[in-house]
């Protein structure tokens, strides 16, 4: 398996089985590289500052291109998330009003009805990505915080299976899912 640094003379990630120009879209910059065809990304961060230093340029690039943003956050950190987006110059209120941005709490996504249901969550991901296309957005950049998986939540043991099953669904879409 090649590392991204093995791509000679380029910072393009080696997962680019389908080059960006062949997909008829602008390259997507993320974490110092250009995303290729595989866009399901699991990200680990040591601190919120490290996290947002990586995520904000990626998120902002999407908004500037008229793409949709769909974020899922810990409800306790919802205000902080909005503050971070605004600090990057993103007009969160306007983006929400126009439909370009949706922000959901864990309880309205992963933990609906008080527990994690992998089938319902897979259906939600598909619905979000399909609706972005229906609404005319060129892409949806989905960013989901997963720290709930470290807590003792009902259904959390199904998370590994869920992430694996997501790998059947996401290759049908060009939308990045973080």
């Amino acid at each position: 398996m090649k590392s991204i640094n093995e791509t000679a003379g380029s910072k393009e990630a080696s997962n680019s089985a389908m080059p960006n120009n062949a997909m008829g879209e602008q390259p997507i910059q993320f974490a110092g590289s250009t995303l290729g065809a595989y866009r399901h990304i699991c990200a680990f961060f040591h601190t919120p500052d490290e996290e947002y230093s990586v995520l904000l340029p990626f998120i902002k690039e999407g908004f500037e291109r008229g793409e949709k943003g769909f974020h899922i956050v810990d409800p306790r950190l919802r205000g902080e998330h909005i503050r971070r987006l605004e600090s990057a110059g993103i007009d969160v209120k306007a983006a929400e009003t126009s439909g370009q941005f949706q922000l959901r709490n864990w309880e309205d996504a992963y933990l609906r009805d008080g527990h994690f249901d992998q089938d319902k969550m897979l259906a939600l991901i598909e619905e979000v990505l399909d609706s972005g296309q229906r609404e005319g957005f060129p892409l949806t950049r989905l960013v989901a915080h997963m720290e709930w998986a470290l807590e003792d939540r009902p259904g959390v043991n199904d998370l590994v299976e869920y992430e694996t099953r997501l790998n059947y669904i996401l290759p049908r879409y060009k939308d990045p899912v973080i």
Binding site: S3, I4, G32, C42, E50, V160
Partner: protein
Amino acid sequence: MIIIGGILQENPFFVPPDEFLRELRAREATRSAASK
């Protein structure tokens, strides 16, 4: 793909979904049999 230390790279532990789910089912079956 995976990001660690702010760097995007291929997940070195990636297992194709078919294979991974087969392993998962096998582990569950073993656990379930052991608990009986």
